[in-house]
Symmetry: C2
């Protein structure tokens, strides 16, 4: 069973966080949500979430992918968290998959997880201008998958299901969502 | 500022609950989330949520609309909660708006909030066969708005914004979501 880590930061975009966790768990993927600090997380629109654990408790665990929800303040918090930055560097060194949506690709750009020339997308205006920014709904480049915002969160989560569990599982989960 | 009540039940579909709250708050609507019982809510895919208050504490408060998230077990819990059923009956008597998504329209059908002949939609198979079931993504009939499932939650929430705050506000919120 694939294992995915979803960090929960104060100020995260709660729709993105919850869509990612829910869709992946519908596919049978083992998802761990981990707060940057202990206790409940207050998200960007005031909803409060209790993560499964904290980042400091799972630093040595193995995961197939890390997925970063967006939100402007959530991204600021991710961008300054030493545990998260150390995890991202380990994931990159071990060629494990890294995904980020909305403002969160900024963390990957700021800390050299995205290499010069490596294409990505993000919420319009959330990352300094860069020739590698495509503005697509989903962008895949090397081991990094990025997506544009809350309204692309279902597509993003379903693409993660396809990457980790195959197209059949993705189609099965998608058909239960009533997306169109 | 319009006021909306969103009951949080154990086993609720967390994507639906969070999309509704987030999109309405983006529109400046005053949303209160209320647990059926005190304490954190474990939702259908294991995410844990801390509501703002409990239903028993806001029974006398005034709201412009009540919105029921779905989820099969969440709906079972809503269907058996005396506070919720008493609130729904008061909303119906006072001709206030009632909305429900996914499995939750079952509560409205079971307790006579939907009248015989009043059209509705819901997650396929979640409500006993009825000639009034349309299977549409959104259905509006009298003071009741219903919707089909997690994949229609953005449309559902945006239609609620339009009903309570007008088309301009709905368009403004929609443009920030990157839905297409």
């Amino acid at each position: 069973m694939p294992k995915v880590l979803v960090p929960f930061a104060a100020g995260m975009e709660e729709m993105e966080a919850v869509i990612i966790v829910d869709v992946l768990r519908r596919a049978g993927i083992h998802v761990t949500t981990a707060g940057l600090v202990p206790g409940p997380i207050e998200a960007s629109r005031g909803t409060k979430h209790l993560p499964d654990t904290t980042l400091s408790e799972i630093l040595e665990d193995e995961f197939d992918m890390i997925v970063l929800p967006g939100g402007n303040k959530g991204t600021q918090n991710l961008d300054q968290d030493p545990n998260l930055l150390s995890l991202l560097k380990r994931f990159k060194a071990e060629k494990r998959k890294i995904s980020a949506i909305c403002a969160a690709p900024r963390v990957l750009k700021n800390h050299g997880i995205l290499e010069p020339g490596q294409k990505f997308t993000a919420f319009p205006g959330s990352v300094s201008e860069s020739p590698e920014y495509t503005g697509s709904r989903l962008e895949e480049s090397g081991d990094v998958l990025t997506s544009i915002g809350p309204g692309s969160a279902f597509e993003f989560a379903l693409r993660i299901v396809e990457l980790l569990s195959g197209r059949e599982k993705k189609n099965e989960v998608e058909s239960g969502l009533q997306l169109r």
